[in-house]
Symmetry: C2
Subunit: 135 residues, 2 copies
């Protein structure tokens, strides 16, 4: 797949669309194809490079466990060919409508010859909101 993302926002929209659409090719089209790309999902080992990131996402993009993600924007920083987005992800499992504790994400995009790509995605658990009772 040879999508081109003219802005970091275009790449980010495609990332979250790929999760909701359970579309591994779309997901991989967002990432910079390099050994420097890194993906850290909650409580999972950090993955480096295109192949490891594909192997991480493949079993997760499963229609049976489709995720709905709502995103709250916290901060955008653009500096030359790098764009950094801090946000909060609110995840719901489609099947059970079970609300998960919020998760922070830091998404770093890099501009190359073929537009903007996701260079790094790092999740970190956020403290649960006061009204949320955890198991």
């Amino acid at each position: 797949m040879s999508s081109r993302f003219d802005t970091p926002t275009d790449a980010e929209d495609a990332y979250y669309d790929a999760i909701e659409e359970v579309d591994l090719d779309k997901m991989m089209s967002v990432w910079e194809d390099s050994t420097e790309s890194t993906c850290l999902l909650p409580m999972r080992p950090l993955q480096n490079g295109t192949e490891a990131i594909r192997e991480l996402w493949q079993p997760m993009l499963d229609p049976k466990m489709q995720l709905n993600i709502t995103v709250n924007h916290i901060q955008w920083i653009e500096q030359g060919d790098i764009a950094i987005h801090l946000l909060e992800e609110l995840v719901t499992l489609s099947e059970t409508a079970e609300r998960q504790p919020p998760i922070y994400a830091i998404n770093i995009y890099r501009r190359g010859d073929d537009g903007w790509r996701l260079l790094s995605h790092v999740n970190s658990p956020a403290p649960p909101p006061p009204d949320m009772i955890l198991p």
Copy 2:
């Protein structure tokens, strides 16, 4: 304090030294003095801006709960005026020698007129190593 850091590594060394030396002024000298600076410590709310970051660190830089941090380098990316460092922090509480589960950190540095400063520090828990029994 008007330290100058000529490389991102100099700024990073000062950051971890400030924690080990329990030195709030040194800690604050590392940060970019702006509303864009962000600090996310494990399971704490994200803090934005110099004042909020100072308030976050002040009670933590307490000689009675001194932390020893060993750092494992995972990846450095430099792109123009931005440097991104992924690493693993291994934290030990000095008083009890209690070993904590590992923590990932992503440190983002930005070069300005007065050298390199820490723009963003984001921690995320890492999966515990197989030989580590958690309470």
